[in-house]
């Protein structure tokens, strides 16, 4: 080691801190609740070739979306002079690098030091609106990408420091809430600039070669850390399969499967055997799939160290083109995240029995995204409410599952406080509580899902909902019981209760009730083996009913 070791260390720490700085800038600048409350975004920096240096994540599900976006930008603009100082790029193309669905927009900012391209800062965030057939740009019934909104194909939204006025006008004219949407764009640009300035500072301070060296060293460090963990994993082939119930158009179920091969020097995940892409909007692109595989790769190697491109040198993901999780144009992709999460879950299911200290049993496996739109009863202004829902996580070999957490595709995601929610949307929330649905029993119990009630207060509102695990249940381990289901109900004036697994803009009248259930997680171990004092405590706390204690656990009072 030479004395540059510590200079490199300090620069590496500073590069990781750039991710955190951009993360804060993004939260603070955004106008979309889905960004600032749900943190449905990621920020990061890459080197000049698109290798991921550091990423600040709000959610896990953007883990392969930043570096691949930069790589794709470099492919589209390969010549000297294509990318200039003051340029900022925008993309939301699902099938290319950085792609998920149209609502998630990537902003890419090249960073120049002394006129040399040295890095990129990049972020991806869920915008309020990008147009398309449905308010909020989310559809459970689209059949082509064109119904889902505007497509930005790696365009220059700023050129030589000037905003692209034509593009701005096109966006404004094609979205329902132009101020919000433009606010989302400014937030992304501001965050990218914050990061770019910090990187330029590092170059000025430590000189070019030291920083470039530290960048490479940072990537190598990620690889070394990951390799050390890989050594500890059991080697072999592990397989799991599962289903996705529906594509939004009533087709299904569809098979999804993963074979994980762990060898001395890499982890290969092969999703061959997964069903072909589907007519409805549940398709996920290959970039999305890589993100999913990276999540579990991270979870079973080293969740603590900051993710960078070096870590992922030891991961290989394969899947034939054109499946449900490697879809190609013009497949509709609006609800891609449910299939992405299913891809995470199936690899998780393959690995959980071999790394039980890192992975619990199956969880609700769904964002359970719920949208209500309509006119606010006080202001008569149009609103779109969209929020993900918390559910139950699976038990582990020594612990009960977590109650009421967002799914694995989320992360630093926050529920919307009821007091803000009611004020902002005028809907009345009447219940937010753990439910008593059957499922998840075990020596270690699956975590509880929730039941959430929205009462409509305007003349009419429109309800959109999409989930999986609506018929299949979160998986269990070692003789535990499977979890419960995700689903929604509409309680009509006439006493009718409609059950929905998937619906788009269903009209709900004033004072009718929308009730959403999220799944409880899977149990681990035979429920009969659960310690008696734990069952007594569960009954006292209402985590299980007396009937469930008797039926599932064989518990007799007294």
């Amino acid at each position: 080691m030479n004395k540059d070791y510590f200079t490199a260390e300090v620069i590496k720490d500073a590069l990781v801190a750039v991710g955190e700085e951009m993360f804060n800038a993004m939260i603070r600048t955004s106008m979309s609740p889905i960004i600032y409350e749900s943190n449905d975004f990621a920020v990061g920096a890459t080197d000049a070739k698109g290798n991921l240096l550091a990423q600040g994540n709000g959610v896990t599900a953007f883990l392969a979306m930043l570096d691949t976006a930069v790589v794709a930008t470099l492919e589209k603009y390969p010549n000297k002079g294509d990318i200039n100082e003051g340029d900022i790029f925008i993309t939301n193309i699902p099938y290319a690098g950085g792609g998920s669905h149209l609502s998630d927009v990537v902003i890419i900012c090249p960073v120049f030091f002394e006129h040399e391209l040295v890095a990129f800062t990049v972020n991806k965030a869920h915008w309020t609106e990008v147009g398309g057939a449905e308010p909020g740009s989310v559809s459970t019934r689209s059949t082509e990408i064109f119904q889902e909104g505007l497509q930005f194909n790696f365009l220059k939204v700023y050129e030589n420091g000037k905003i692209n006025a034509v593009l701005e006008e096109i966006i404004r004219s094609n979205v329902r809430l132009p101020d919000s949407t433009m606010g989302d764009m400014y937030a992304g640009v501001a965050a990218a600039k914050v990061g770019a300035n910090r990187i330029i500072e590092l170059f000025s301070k430590y000189n070019r070669d030291n920083v470039v060296h530290a960048m490479q060293e940072l990537l190598d460090y990620g690889e070394r850390m990951t390799r050390a963990e890989l050594k500890k994993l059991p080697k072999g082939e592990f397989y799991a399969e599962d289903i996705i119930e529906d594509d939004g158009l009533g087709n299904g179920p569809f098979k999804i499967c993963a074979k994980v091969v762990i060898s001395e020097d890499k982890i290969l995940v092969d999703y061959s055997g997964t069903d072909p892409q589907v007519p409805g909007p549940f398709n996920c692109s290959f970039t999305g799939l890589v993100t999913g595989a990276r999540c579990i790769f991270k979870a079973i190697t080293n969740p603590e160290i900051p993710a960078n491109g070096g870590c992922f040198r030891l991961l290989e993901v394969t899947c034939p083109e054109g499946t449900l999780i490697s879809a190609v144009a013009p497949a509709p992709v609006s609800i891609y995240y449910e299939s992405l999460i299913a891809a995470i879950d199936v690899m998780w299911k393959a690995m959980a029995p071999v790394v039980p200290d890192r992975l619990p049993a199956g969880h609700q496996r769904s964002v359970g995204a719920t949208f209500v739109s309509g006119m606010h009863p006080d202001t008569d202004k149009f609103f779109v409410m969209g929020e993900p829902l918390v559910g139950g996580w699976g038990a582990s070999t020594k612990l009960d599952g977590d109650n009421g957490q967002f799914c694995c595709g989320n992360g630093e995601t926050y529920n919307i406080p009821i007091e803000l929610f009611e004020s902002r949307y005028g809907l009345q929330v009447e219940q937010y509580a753990f439910h008593n649905e059957d499922g998840g029993a075990g020596e270690y119990r699956g975590g509880k899902g929730v039941v959430l009630d929205y009462r409509v207060t305007s003349d009419e509102a429109y309800f959109t909902y999409a989930a999986t695990r609506t018929e299949s249940r979160p998986w269990s381990m070692d003789g535990g019981q499977e979890g419960s289901n995700n689903y929604a109900e509409i309680h009509r004036h006439d006493g009718d209760v409609e059950r929905h697994h998937m619906c788009t803009t269903v009209a709900v009248k004033k004072n009718e009730l929308i009730r959403v259930f999220t799944a409880s997680g899977g149990g681990v171990g035979d429920p009969k083996k659960r310690a008696r004092e734990k069952i007594t405590s569960d009954i006292k706390n209402g985590y299980i009913t007396e009937e469930q204690a008797s039926l599932d656990y064989g518990y007799k009072a007294g």
Binding site: M1, Y5, F6, E9, V10, D13, A17, E21, N24, A25, I27, R28, T29, M31, P33, N39, T60, G183, Y186, A190, Y221, R224, A228, E229, K298, A299, P303, E304, I305, L359, P360, D378, V390, S396, D402, N403, G404, Q405, F406, C408, G411, E412, T413, Y414, N415, P417, E419, L420, E422, S423, E430, Q431, Y432, A433, F434, V450, D453, K540, N541, Y543
Partner: protein, 685 residues
Amino acid sequence: MRVATDVGGTFTDLVYSVEGQLHTAKVDTTPPDFESGVMNTLDKARLDPKAIEFFAHGSTVIINAITERKGVKTALITTKGFRDVLEIARGNRPDLFNFNFRKPRPFVERYLRLELDERVNYKGELSKEVDLGSLTDLLDFLKAEKVEAIAIAFLHAYINPVNEIATAEAIAKLWPEVSVLASHQISREWREYERTNTTVLSAYIHPVAKTYIESLQARLVDRGFEQPPYLMQSNTGISSVKAVLENPTSMIESGPASGIFAAAWLGNEIDINNLLVLDIGGTTAKCTLIENGEIRVSTDYHIEKTNTDPGYPIQTPVSEIVEIGNGGGSIAWVDEGKKLHVGPQSAGAMPGPAAYGKGGTFPTTTDANLLMGRIDKNNFVGGEVEPDLDAVYKAFEPLEKSLNMSREELARGVVRVANSNMTNALRLVSTNKGHDPREFTLIAFGGGGAMHVVALAEELNIPRVIVPANSAVFSALGMLLTDIRRDYVQTKLLRLDTDGIDEIGSLFDGMQQQAKADFEAEKNNNHTDDAEFHYYLDMRYNGQEHTVKVPASISSAGKFDLSEIATTFHSSHEQRYTYTLDTDIEVVNFHLVAIINVDKPTLARKEATGKKMEATFMHSRQVDFDHHGIHETNVYNGMEMEAGMRLQGPAIIQEPSVTLVISPGHNAEVDNFGNYHVLLRGGQS
């Protein structure tokens, strides 16, 4: 005589002033009877309680009762349908790729979370009067469960607490012995989980706080000090016993807040009002930013929050602090990828750094400073400890092997990594929020502050560093210098326009009446008659969520000045978020700061007798200044230095508990109050 005492984790400090001269005393903290330590400081200083006119007190007792889970069995009564809000919390999982994550456990178990049928809507209208029919049965159940405190938290009580008040009154009648706190007493802000959790924590520690404060008072009365003490709060002001018992979480960060206040006070005395404040202790470093003399106080504080743990929100006014696990006792270690880390694990007070010779086997920042000659090995811990160098060498050995470098290189690296951690924390409070560190002065205190501060200033291009006189008891000093302060924060959505401006006036007016009534109820002879008011608005662009706090200016006509407020908002927003929008502005929270000035000591100036700098020379030793090289360095006795003295780096100024390391190329001087100033890169004052 005016006295302040501060109960910390390890030491209990006393500061008092007699005719402008400050005196201090330090004793061991005495758990679980913390008040005994307070009495011990008085004894050590031979103070006669009868001669005390004013007694201020800060303490970690409240925060410790929470972090050590030593509160009482607590129940929650909440709105029907929402008892699980406390457990669901916000649903976030900051430990993103740890799929075996478990969220922090709520402080009230589910069977003690009870519901009543009631409802107030978001406009503050009462839609359903609380049904107290089941209350007697509920209370019987809680009695049988031996509950000692009850928190009440209903939806939208921040805007209309009528149902909470009715419930609290009914409980007081049915069960007068139990501690009852309702959410509207704790916070008038929206966000039900944050408000509920704060109320629960307040109830959880209420009996503990009551016992502690009452015993302290009784001991003081025994000694002949009849006045009630003032208690230091997290909002940087002091308050009455009554106010603190209405919301014990208000004391949660009294120590750090007091240090921040002392920094702001000192800045004001010497006319330097843009400060970055850094307090380096044994296990953590805390920092904050003061702009134009204004301390930022906000209500989005969390305890036990880390990068991987969501922690617990405390929706009560706390001076903004960024805290990192990086202090003198932080342990250096190398991970599997051969990266050197410092902290967040700490050797703590026991066993402490390896050099303490108390069995510490891990290398710490303090050990590295000792190896570099920055700490005087002949005067370690004020000369009370002979450093165990063999233990230090042994502690460094595994890391030397692992990184294949010499002990000297490694020690330098440990200090550099520690400095890099602190630099990043200082960036979080400055650059990250739109402030340029070059426009600030860095003030450092706490055990490790002086040791690292010059290197940090170099890193951030900060032109001036201050190490205050009395920096070892700086926190207690703040309590002696601050005023009685109450913060009132009320959520109320309002458009900032000509109609809105009148409502702003009437809302603040109502809050002011409340403040006056509260002060009146706790009046005593330390009070001046008139309260002083400061008005702040948390505002946002319509459609946004996060707010900017700006002072609400009043025009010459004595009314709130619409255009001035809007202008301030736009510029604050631009500073923090880089842009402005041409959108309506919305007020979210009204924040009234009410202050009653108390008499404060005027600190005496440090005398200059014309003593020569050379007279304070102690010795010279080899000191490693990292990239400035190793130099034979003059060490001066800070206790002997006087106003106006100047010197040039490389140099060290040493006091029993302060070591100020001045690298080559920088100038240092002592001001009229005995504070050390370091002017970087040959700067002159």
